[in-house]
Amino acid sequence: MTAISVSPPRSIDWPAILKEAAFTAFVALLLTVPLVGLRTVDRPTGLGLETRWNEVIAAVGLVFIGRLGLCLIREGQAGLVLVLAALAAAAGFFIQMPTEALRIMLIAGGAIIAIRAAIAVRTGRSKLTQAERDKRMDRIAAKVQHASRWLGPIAVLVALVFPMTPLADRQLLDIGILLLTYIMLGWGLNIVVGLAGLLDLGYVAFYAVGAYSYALLAHYFGLSFWLCLPLAGVLAAMSGVLLGFPVLRLRGDYFAIVTLGFGEIIRIILVNWYQFTGGPNGISGIPRPSFFGIADFVRTPPEGTLAFHELFGLEFSALHRIVFLYYLILVLALVVNVFTLRIRKLPLGRAWEALREDDIACASLGINRTNMKLAAFAIAAMFGGFAGSFFATRQGFISPESFTFIESAIILAIVVLGGMGSQIGVVVATLLVIGLPEAFRELADYRMLAFGMGMVVIMLWRPRGLLAHRDPTILLFGRKKDSSGGPAGGTAAAGGEGIAGGRAK
């Protein structure tokens, strides 16, 4: 990596570059033949194999050219590569290609290499080491975090106004609700993973407990959403404590594995307890939320009750309920956010962060580690439960399918990519992880490819997450104007150096 900035342009060693590119293409071939080239399809005669050699050829070709490009960047030809890659991406974009796959790969590959080359062109000029670059990135993260003081309220305002603009159609509102749900889950998990430093791989279990709490309470007892919302939170918190008691003595990887198991246990119970939960068929006909128990969102209300549009003298619109759901999840998510921002400045939040930093030192200071961790677990679970019951009422139908491990993984990915412990990072990461695949829904199969690429790029570029930066929760001297990189910036910079050192080896 440092070679970019250190070595001046020299004569290009073509055989070596070609050899390296060919080798990489060979590795890509080995990987893509089973992963991409062969596909099992369900035929009436049984399971059959389908081959997709075009895609394999395109992928291998792309890897070959891409590696060639990377080598040329290393040799100091970044400008040339940038132009070529941009041309390739443009060609893919404008010219009709024989297959769709080729076209997408051309665009995506060209764009990525172009970005890489552009970064090389920029950093190649400023002779910075990796550590310095990491420090600079950290300063940017710090700036974003400080900017969130005024950026946050603006974002909230935009989110508040959005449903009232003519822009807000059914599809965009649905995406907004989806994003806000994941933001809320991300903020909830951030309490456990980001603050308390406990790697929870089964967070979706609490989401499921919340969703099924509401669905079952409504199904069997006919309880309303507004009564079930707190109940779902309490039940999820209790399940968090239940899980927490036996596992909190475990540390690190062992802890993660047990939480992973817990997530699966909940899902398998839901699948197999057919008489009670409906098994894999799930529960349908979950009641929609009413307007705070006063009015329903229906065209023709039953005798003696008022509908929402009648209450406010509006024309009936199916959109009303969606807008209401949107505001509901917005408020729920903001509650989690405000809670986290406040708790960080309280002894409980500080104890969580101290536990993340050094658990043994905490014991020596008389901090009851079990209680602190249980509190983190229960509170995060409670927020997961709220989100779950919201999910149930929004969908009207839930099944164990919605609570698979991949959901936990996505929520965790949001927290990690955003930068552990960073509230604004969760928002940015959700926009990337959930928003991008939604925006590129037309790409069908390839959107997961784009998702994977995005993750790899972020992890290479910002290994500690996009906005990993921690501000002290209490300052003795207040914030000094001139020292953005001073005391506050130091925290993450130290870690950044460590990582840079690790990468250089």
């Binding site: 409980l348 043994i360 030192a361 020596s364 003795l476 130091g490």
Partner: protein, 294 residues
Amino acid sequence: MTDLSMTKPPLLKVEHLTMRFGGLVANSDVSFVANSGEITAIIGPNGAGKTTLFNCITGFYTPTVGRMTLRHPDGKEFLLERMPGYRISQKASVARTFQNIRLFSGMSVLENLVVAQHNKLIKASGFSIAGLLGLPSYTKAEREAVDLAKYWLDRVRLLDFADWSAGNLPYGAQRRLEIARAMCTEPVLLCLDEPAAGLNPRESGELADLLTFIRDEHNTGVLLIEHDMSVVMTISDHVVVLDYGRKISDGDPDFVKNDPAVIRAYLGEEEDEELPPEVANDLPEVAKRAEEGA
């Protein structure tokens, strides 16, 4: 020594402490006392069981055999071997530092000291509820906590670095911060595990001053593991020497310095020491074989 302990009950009384890990005996029948307002040093060669002793006193290990009684100035007594780890700090007010520094390195210096006052603050914050509501009782408690932190930061000359992250401090400063953090828990007994390790002579001198200050002004009992004899011998009121897990000497610094058992432990046996009979009898045989082999 004896008549003193008759008049004033000791702060910490360790009796017949034995700690075994499987077959390994780390401490064997160790008994000693430590008094309030005194510095008690525990010295001994590497592997003598000093840190194990500390871990027993501070609750990280539960001793196999033995009793440890801590007596507060107000007369309350605690049997340390029966308390879970965190309670020893919370209730019995024993604080410690670690041989390899254990700071919350990602947090700021001030935060480190505020976390140390966790138990006081979490009560004031009504287990977070009053704190979340922003009630004035918590704000006041936090201000007091910051004042205490400021006092100790001033003591260890780190006031200017209060907003730095602890991990960015130089090594010596980190050692001092760890002591300040332990003192912020307002302990009656402060256990320091090699606080002078890695310090230069000037820093060691400062450390000695700090420890004397803690002893004299705060009337805190200090238990000190240390290899740096210049520190130990100048500031200690009482020295306990361990070797192979046993106590081999106990007394004031001058007594211990001249105790033959201590000299033997540190410098080894005299030249003319006799070999065990079975080795001595075998020696000619071994020499003969070696010759034949050559």
